[in-house]
Every structure is written in C-alpha cells, then in structure tokens.
C-alpha cells in the first residue's frame, strides 16, 4: 500500500508538485494522467526516493521513503521515463546486475528467465543492449523493474516507444501484474489509462485535479445537458430554431452523416434538460428527429475539462480540438486492430506452412 501525504516539490522558485495526497490500496492499479510537465514524473521520482520532497511524506508499505530509504526502496520496482540501461552490457548481464543490486532471494537463472519470458525479451537476452530497438529497450527496462518481484511497481509511461501490438501486450501484462502487485502507472495516453487502471488520478500543473474511478469520473463530470441530434433539413434554419430555445448555450453542426442530414451538438446550461423543448420546437416546424442521444463524456472530455477548465468546453475551439483528438484516437485504434489482424493472419499462415512441412516430413 502506498500513502502520499501533502507531497510538495520546489525547484528553486518553481513549484513542480504542490500538496499532492492520495493512497493506493494493495492490488490496485492507479493511473496517473496529466499533460506533459504536469508533475507526473516528479511525483514518481519522489515516491521511489530518487529525488527528495520539499515537504510531505511518501509511505510505501508502512515505511517512509525518507526515513528508511533502503527498506522502502526494496518494496519498489521502478521503470523511469528513460529506462536506466547500461548499454554496453548484454540483456542477461544487465538483469543479473539488477538481481545482485536488489539482493534478490529467488533462484537466479530461473527467476531471470521468468522475467525475460514475461516481458518477451527471451530471444534477445544474449544481445548487447546498445544494439536493441527502442521497443526492446523499453521492455528490458520493464524487466528490470520486475526483477526481484517487488510488491509495488511504479511505471513511468511503460508503453512509450512501443508499436501497437506491443502496447496491447504490455497492457495485458500490467493488468495481470495488477492482480498480485500494487501498480502506479503514468501516461498521457487516455485510452491506455482507461483500459488498464482501476482508479485515475488526474494531475495538472502540479496539483491533483481529480481522483476517482474511471466510471465515477465520467459520471460526476458527465452532463446529460449535452446532446447529439440528427435532423434532416436546412442547416441554417435548424440552427437558428435551436438557438432560440431557452437554456441552449451552444450549438454546432457536426457533419453531414446522411445526404441532407446533419448531426448537431447541442449544449444546454448545466443541469437543464432541453430534450422535451427541443422535440416540441422541431415538431412544430415539422422537422423529424432521426436520432438523439446524450453525449457521454469520454475520458478525453473529462481530461480536457479538468485540465483546461469548464469555460473551455463551451469554447468552439474545444470542439475542434476534441474532434482532432477523436480522429487520432480512432486512427490509432484502427491501426492497432489492423496490425493485430495482419499479425494474426500471418501467424496462421506460418502455422499452416509449418504443419504442411511437418506433414511432408512424416
């Protein structure tokens, strides 16, 4: 279990992290989410004893990191932002060194092979780290954190530099590890946090902006006052009609989903339900509603809302930004899907070939 109380870090005059408090229970995966420079890495560095806090406490399994650093550090496996690799060593040599450094008790060869298999670096374990690709280095870094099987894992952007297939693998691995370990994970990739973490801490400008489960977060910040509606007809006329409705704060025509049918995003004042009124107004003008749904806040929305402030959501710029985000998201997911599909197909082919050749031999 990890307890963080009023952790603060100043760099000279600059306050990198101020008054952060949270706890992570045993067997929980906590996601640390924040824009670049929000103080994620600084917080993690303080938790692992790499840098000291200006004030406040970090307690790992009941041991204060500043009072008994050696004992507290023995509970932690840490993957920093840049994997700390001795590039002149072989992967095996490096992991052996880490094994000695952490004075592990497990049977050496067996344990290191286990870690290599878990992080899928078994094939490269005799190679010199210098010659490995970024994805492999990242995984060697992860392996290094896993050596000695520490009960607490602190991973700073563990999937940085990996390809989509590897990202999925590492996520699955972290989820699996989360069952037996306490994990803190940082990322600025929202889907990753959503996919892996039980609980999310959003950190912005060195302060905690939100701390809750993913579901709760979307519920508390969610707004039934945001609607997505599809209406056929003249765009300008419809927009004017809707704008005239009381409590409508903002409307935007999204895109032509079907010929002559636009999708509109409507934002009402907080806590106001305008669905009935909307229906009435449109019916009066004999405009049918082809689709209406409340726009659920995705983690992106929450993230932007929490980090940028409420006003930003009502800003036209936001929609544009969100649109862009969504597009990127979709394309990345598509890519993941495609790539895994291709890999699967390829593997199946190979397997078929193998079995064919096998058959020949027999």
């Amino acid at each position: 279990m990890i307890e963080v109380k009023n952790l603060t870090k100043h760099y000279g005059d600059k306050r990198a992290v101020s008054n952060i408090s949270f706890t992570v229970d045993d067997g929980e995966i906590l996601g640390f989410l924040g824009p670049n420079g929000a103080g994620k890495s600084t917080t993690m560095n303080m938790l692992t004893g790499y840098i000291s806090s200006t004030s406040g406490d970090a307690v790992i399994n009941g041991v204060n990191i500043l009072e008994e650093p050696v004992k507290a550090k023995s509970f932690i496996g840490y993957l920093p932002e840049v994997p700390p690799l001795y590039v002149d060593m072989t992967v095996r040599g490096y992991l052996n060194f880490i094994y000695d450094l952490k004075s592990c008790k497990q049977p050496r060869t067996q344990h290191i092979e286990e870690v290599c298999k878990l992080t899928k670096i078994f094939d490269v374990k005799e190679r010199i780290i210098k010659h490995l690709s970024k994805g492999y280095r990242q995984r060697v870094g992860l392996a290094q954190a896993l050596v000695g099987n520490p009960p607490v894992l602190i991973l700073d952007e563990p999937t940085a530099g990996l390809d989509p297939k590897q990202i999925i693998e590492i996520r699955t691995l972290i989820k699996k590890l989360g069952k037996t370990h306490t994990v803190i994970l940082s990322s600025h990739i929202l889907t990753e946090i959503q996919a892996v973490c039980d609980r999310i801490v959003i950190i912005n400008k060195g302060e905690i902006a939100a701390n809750d489960t993913a579901d709760n977060l979307s519920r508390t910040v969610s707004s039934d006052h945001r609607l997505s509606v599809r209406i056929p007809g003249d765009k300008k006329e419809i927009m004017q009609l809707i704008k005239a409705i009381e409590d409508v704060k903002y409307i935007r025509a999204d895109m032509e989903r079907e010929p002559g049918v636009y999708e509109y995003e409507i934002e009402a004042a907080e806590g106001k339900d305008i669905r009935r009124e909307l229906n009435k107004v449109l019916a009066e003008n004999s405009l049918p509603i082809l689709m209406m749904r409340t726009a659920d806040l995705t983690l992106e929305d929450i993230f932007l809302k929490v980090t940028m402030g409420q006003e930003f959501m009502l800003n036209p710029e936001f929609s544009a930004k969100k649109e862009k985000l969504n597009q990127e998201e979709v394309s990345l997911e598509d890519l993941e899907f495609k790539v895994t599909g291709i890999v699967k197909k390829h593997m199946e082919k190979e397997r078929q070939k193998d079995s064919e050749y096998g058959g020949d031999k027999e």
Partner: protein
Amino acid sequence: MKAIYRRELGAYFTSSIGYVFLGVFYFYCGLSFTFSSLFALTYDMSEAFSLAFTALIFLIPILTMKLFSEEKKQRTEQCLLTAPISLPSMVLGKFFAALTLYTAGIAVYFIFAVILSFFAPAFGWIPVLSNFLALFLVGAAFTAIGAFISSLTENQVVAAVTSCIALMVIWLLDSMASFITLDFLSWLPKLLMSLSFYSKYAEFTSGIFNLSSVLFYISAVVIFLFLTVRVSEKRRWS
C-alpha cells in the same frame, strides 16, 4: 556494494578504458624501470617508484572520469539511486573497482622486484614493500579525488581534464611553496608543504616509513569519498 563493484570492474574491460590504462601504465613503468634500474646497473628501485608518481597524474583521471559522470549522462544513476542500497555503499563500490584496476597496474612493480632479486644478492624486500604501500596509498587518494570530480559533472571529458589539472596542482604544491619568499606570507609555504602529496611520497622512496604520511593519505581518501557521497546526496535535494 558488491554488485556495483563487479559491474564497474566489468565495464572497464567491456570498454577500452581498462586496456588503455593498463597498457599505458605497464609501458611507462617498464620504461622507467629499464632506465632507472637496469641501465643504471643498480638494484635500487626508488627511482623507478618516484617516476611512477608523474604517471598517476595523467592516468588516474582515465580510471575515474566515467565513474559518476557517465551514470548521470545515461540516466543509469536513477537505477542505482532507487535500488535498495545506501549511497555510501554505491560510492565505495565504484571506488574499490577503480582501486582494484589501479592495484593491478602497480602490481607490475613486484615483477620488477623479482627480476632484480635474481641479480642482486643484497636485494631487500622491505623498502620495496614500503614503496609499494606508498604508491598504493597515493593512488587511492588520487582515485578518491578523481571520483569526487567525476561526481560533479555530467561530462566525462570535463571530469578527466579537471581531475588532471587538480592532480597537477597537487603535484606542484612543493614547487609553489619554494617560490613564496615574502616575509608576511611565511606561513603559506609551511601550509602547502604539509598538504603536499609528493614530499610525503618522496620520503617513502628514500626509505623512510612515516606513519603520519600513511594517515594523511587515508584521510584524503576518506574526505573525498565523503564529499562524493554528499554531492550525490545533494543532487536529490536540489
């Protein structure tokens, strides 16, 4: 400490530094031994020992330049500082690795001594051992100084050059002392001489075993290793 010691020693030989250091050191010592003992037709090794001092000024920085600076540059210190080991044991591990390689270097003097002992029936081992001890202690003190300087920077070339200059200043303390003749500064030469590494070493080579000199070198090692620990500690607080 053992893990760091072993890795550091291994790193000397996976890179070229170990080979370069030993190669150059053996060559220089061999040369000075040949000229000062073999060609001079004497079994007295004190000249060869006293020549070794100059080599240390240029060769010890090669040993120590990477110790801490490279860790910082490659961000591998993050791995050491978040591992369950204390800072002093990390510094000691690195120091002993450098010292081991250095000892392997100066061990060549024993080979020279064995050669001489064949030719000279009057050859005495006690002065050789005493000289060897002095050389070992001077090297240890220089290594600690080099380690300290390496912990101050991220660049190993800067560390090497700075160490080299620092050791040179230490070497020149004696001559600096002799240049100061002003009356009102009469205390300065005395102070410089008492800090001199070379005059104490020269004492050993002329056959005097002075316990206070031994303590002087050991204190230098302790002080600079302590400072190295403090520098690493300070980085966490800045």
